[in-house]
Symmetry: C2
Subunit: 206 residues, 2 copies
């Protein structure tokens, strides 16, 4: 287990195992996967697997960790693009830059994200995704006026964050047909205008 991580073979092997994990989770779910399944699909020696991962659980954990790390890097790249608040972005017809970047990242890793956020996925990963969403969505909204809220803050938070995750999942499972910017704008409108108005179920007057 003393492999130096800058070697091309290591990166390639890990990527192939990760791709195999993705495919197999789609087929039979994580629980039914054996290490032999993984190494057969990845076309590597079974012994090689154990050079990198203690078992299949450690594999899943590390894959999820890498995704979260990469999402953290996305966070860094868009800090300077953020305007002061929701309203400014909306009047420019632009969704929040971080959300766009998030969807772009999801599209790149579509297969893995669809599995991990899907029916056979990892509930804990959903929680971590929500944490990331919360950090970036809430810091823009809470500034406005906290006193005049008619709903406990925690429920508001749970509502918006979970709604966004729902949009993400629907997008992933329906084939990511919309562009990242389009789907980000969709989620943005639903939050900014409220679901009913954004969906056109009520007029602007109401």
């Amino acid at each position: 287990m003393s492999l130096n991580n800058t070697d091309r073979r290591i990166r390639r092997t890990k990527r192939m195992i990760r791709d195999a994990l993705t495919e197999l989770m789609e087929d039979k779910g994580f629980d039914a996967i054996t290490v032999r399944d993984l190494t057969d699909k990845a076309d590597i020696n079974r012994g090689t697997f154990y050079l990198h991962y203690k078992d299949k659980f450690a594999l899943l954990e590390q894959c999820e960790g890498e995704v979260l790390e990469e999402l953290a890097q996305v966070q860094g790249h868009v800090k300077e693009l953020q305007l002061a608040n929701f309203y400014e972005h909306f009047h420019r017809g632009e969704p929040l830059p971080f959300i766009v970047k998030l969807f772009e990242y999801l599209k790149e890793n579509g297969a893995f994200m669809r599995v991990i956020l899907g029916p056979n996925g990892d509930p804990l990963f959903q929680v971590k995704m929500k944490d990331i969403l919360a950090e970036h969505l809430l810091k823009h909204m809470v500034k406005k006026a906290r006193t005049e809220m008619e709903v406990p803050f925690e429920y508001f938070k749970a509502y918006v964050i979970s709604a966004h995750l729902g949009v993400i999942q629907e997008w992933l499972f329906s084939g990511m047909k919309e562009s990242p910017k389009e789907i980000a704008m969709t989620a943005f409108k639903l939050t900014f205008l409220g679901p009913r108005r954004a969906a056109g179920l009520v007029s602007d007057k109401n």
Copy 2:
């Protein structure tokens, strides 16, 4: 260059180089490809390439050779399925088994075949494909009655074989939407009934 070919790494490396070749030929054509392009895309060391191939030309040659070898194996697997002649197959509503197997093989190797038989492909490979087609199509048709032909045999041969290759190319480039059996039957009808009648441009009476 004394590698033993049963090692998993060898097979994997060759497959990755071959996949890289396929992708790059689609992008920029064979001439523009450098060895560095190939090894970058395949994600292997450049030196590894030279352990298996003298240069990119040898690579192409070997890839084509492997495809032709595999097609030869397909030939062996269907010998016993062949009926005596065209007519028997047609009256059962079945295309020639070899042609079905051929399309099934093409579908499996769609990416490479599309490139190698495409606008940036290898004309010599087309010739070899025609040889294979000829061997299996003609031995069924020629038996019937060679004397009453109104066209020199060589032109007849060139017409039918090239027509089949054209069907193959059209199928590959249009996304292989029909099943191998369907497209094989299409090619079979065009040959058995003649193109105009098969296409319904003339009635059965004519």
